[in-house]
Symmetry: C2
Subunit: 390 residues, 2 copies
């Protein structure tokens, strides 16, 4: 029996026509805005100027904190919190992908407290107060635009963990698929894999959800598998970009996992160790891990889910031995990750060896000492999976 | 290109475990509650007592307005508004199906104004203030539990139209599928058809939505087609009831129609005339109309959508002439409505003749004089469709 609570307070403004509302929406939360962005691609594409124009029309005073990196770093967030406090910032505007929005969530909470914002992560403190967040999404991937969490890195301690709470949902997210036309091929691939991982880390479960949600999840998986390669080959294919963007938001906003989701997350905590120790791209780490994790979890108890995966996602002939179907499904997944998406197929290719595997595995299994996913994974299991990725 | 705004402020508490939170949630909006319900089935099933217990535990003072009828009547709403004003009601609790929740929405607005609540309908006034609404859903059908509108009838004028606005979203909806075990067979059938109609009145369009949403809508259509007959035969089949209940909410909450929905509604305004003039069950009217509307709209311009409908919903062999597939799809729909669901197949069976068709057709086309749906329908077209239903 399903028991769950659904609520999502984010207002989404989708498409170029809606984008024009940005200034008014930000102004509704205040006149002193901190603009948070990444490495500067928004300046090259002209988006930065458009955003400033829309804010200026509403008489908003804009402060800036650019330079948010992928796997956003706590030191940068600390600096942004100081800017907020010194300048009486009313509202935060994140313009970027998941890293920028994640960082902005931590800034929103950190700007309202006297302690170090890293404490939200390290001490698992739930924010009791936060500045309002508006975002302009520039990459389909993390789903941060419609969820209440962010993942923050601390390079000093090789930690990468989450901050979260109901106050960290964006108030408004502007999703204009045209803004993703400039996302490079490799980043489109990695982002798409992140979307897939958000769905199927939960979808692979021995207790499937209600049929409608099970089928909806398959739709979104098939959507991403169909459109990711198209967006990679034709960056300005609007149909592909809008499907990927809306898939990104719905993969992580709680609807599709309503009432089950017990298996989520499994690969995410393992990957977070890879990117914490080696600062690699999150979606790349996930794509390397996933086929190995699938191989590792295959058993008499789990095989039926692989059969559904193989037949309903990859179109494999159902009239075969279940384990044959499962193995073919894993091969199809590998082919998709490493050929279609062109993601490196091993950790070795990224210069990663096994020297930190034990430590990473133990961290991945925190705080319970185990990952209670599709198959129960203890640190020794995580080490095995990581070794399979070499 | 899709341009739309998505936002849905309703918090859903799904399942029996979540139902226990009812008292606390109502209390968070105030201590003086008007309980609104229908013909008394909630007393027979014991739900009434359970609700009163949960409210009592929180020290809530309960006033009552039972007796809401299907196609809820404005006179009853007027009386409820007076109760609210006289007793300083803080919060409304609707316990029932779509009619009870719809009535409660009009009460929520009417309790805050000095004018006749029928003016919200007749003069299309958007409520500027409303009492908070909590509901306990007892039938999967209208989706009122997750939308911002209600349909109200005025038997004096044979009018049945909507009241709506952002303030009329329920604050919280309690969806416990077990509460629908007692819904009679005929009402399960009619409610299920209402769900279907909410989706496919928009899904039949010459401008399909983005692929992901198109496919998600097909999933929900297939879900209802699969589970409605099961729930009719096995009223306490939890899998069927939970799928139908969650389908009901998502069919009307705006997600699946994001960015298109230009064809919605088409049969709803026509059916509202049938139930306004003859007080018939909404889902029954829709089921009688739909196959005729599908026949009437079939043309060279629209046939491709019928082909998708036939192959993807009804499993019809795609290697045939498009019009052959379309006609088979309509026949399958008729078979589903009139055999599987057991709904009467003609208006004649309900004692309805053509004497009011012209007047009904003109009202259905208000306020623009035309229904701009899948195919543009003027009053003369509506009369033709109604005649096909005799």
């Amino acid at each position: 029996m399903s028991n769950f609570r659904w609520s999502n307070p984010v207002t989404v403004y989708f498409g170029p026509e809606q984008f024009k509302e940005l200034g008014k929406v930000v102004a509704s939360y205040g006149k002193r805005c901190l603009l948070v962005y990444g490495g500067g691609s928004i300046k090259r594409t002209g988006l930065y100027d458009k955003v400033l124009d829309l804010l200026s029309e509403e008489g908003i005073t804009v402060f800036e904190k650019g330079g948010v990196e992928p796997n956003p770093k706590i030191q940068h967030i600390r600096e942004a919190c100081e800017i907020c406090k010194e300048n009486g910032i009313d509202v935060l505007l994140a313009v970027g992908g998941g890293s920028v929005i994640d960082a902005t969530k931590c800034i929103a909470a950190g700007a309202c407290v006297d302690f170090d914002p890293w404490d939200f992560v390290a001490k698992r403190i739930m924010p009791q107060k936060a500045l309002p967040i508006v975002d302009v999404l520039t990459a389909a991937a993390t789903g941060s635009e419609m969820d209440s969490g962010g993942i923050i890195s601390n390079p000093e301690t090789n930690d990468k963990e989450g901050v979260g709470g109901p106050l960290l949902y964006p108030k408004a997210s502007f999703l204009n698929p045209e803004l993703t036309f400039t996302v490079p091929k490799a980043q489109t691939a990695a982002g798409s894999f992140d979307i897939l991982s958000h769905i199927w880390e939960g979808w692979f479960t021995t207790e499937p959800p209600m049929t409608m949600l099970d089928e909806v999840q398959k739709v979104v998986i098939r959507t991403v598998i169909k459109y990711a390669p198209i967006a990679m080959e034709e960056p300005d294919n609007l149909e592909a970009r809008e499907n990927l963007m809306w898939a990104s938001s719905w993969a992580m906003n709680g609807f599709m996992s309503s009432g089950f989701g017990k298996s989520w997350p499994t690969n995410h905590p393992i990957e977070h160790q890879l990117s914490a120790f080696y600062d690699i791209t999150h979606g790349v780490g996930l794509a390397i891990l996933t086929p190995r994790w699938l191989r590792y979890c295959l058993s008499d108890e789990t095989v039926s889910r692989y059969v559904t995966f193989g037949t309903d996602i990859w179109g494999i002939d159902p009239d075969q031995d279940p384990f044959d179907i499962a193995n073919q499904a894993i091969e199809k997944t590998e082919e998709f990750c490493f050929k279609t998406l062109g993601i490196p197929s091993t950790l070795t290719e990224l210069g990663i060896g096994e020297e930190h595997f034990q430590e990473m595995a133990e961290k991945a299994c925190q705080p319970f000492g185990v990952i209670n996913g599709f198959r129960r994974l203890e640190p020794k299991d995580v080490v095995e999976i990581l070794k399979m990725c070499l």
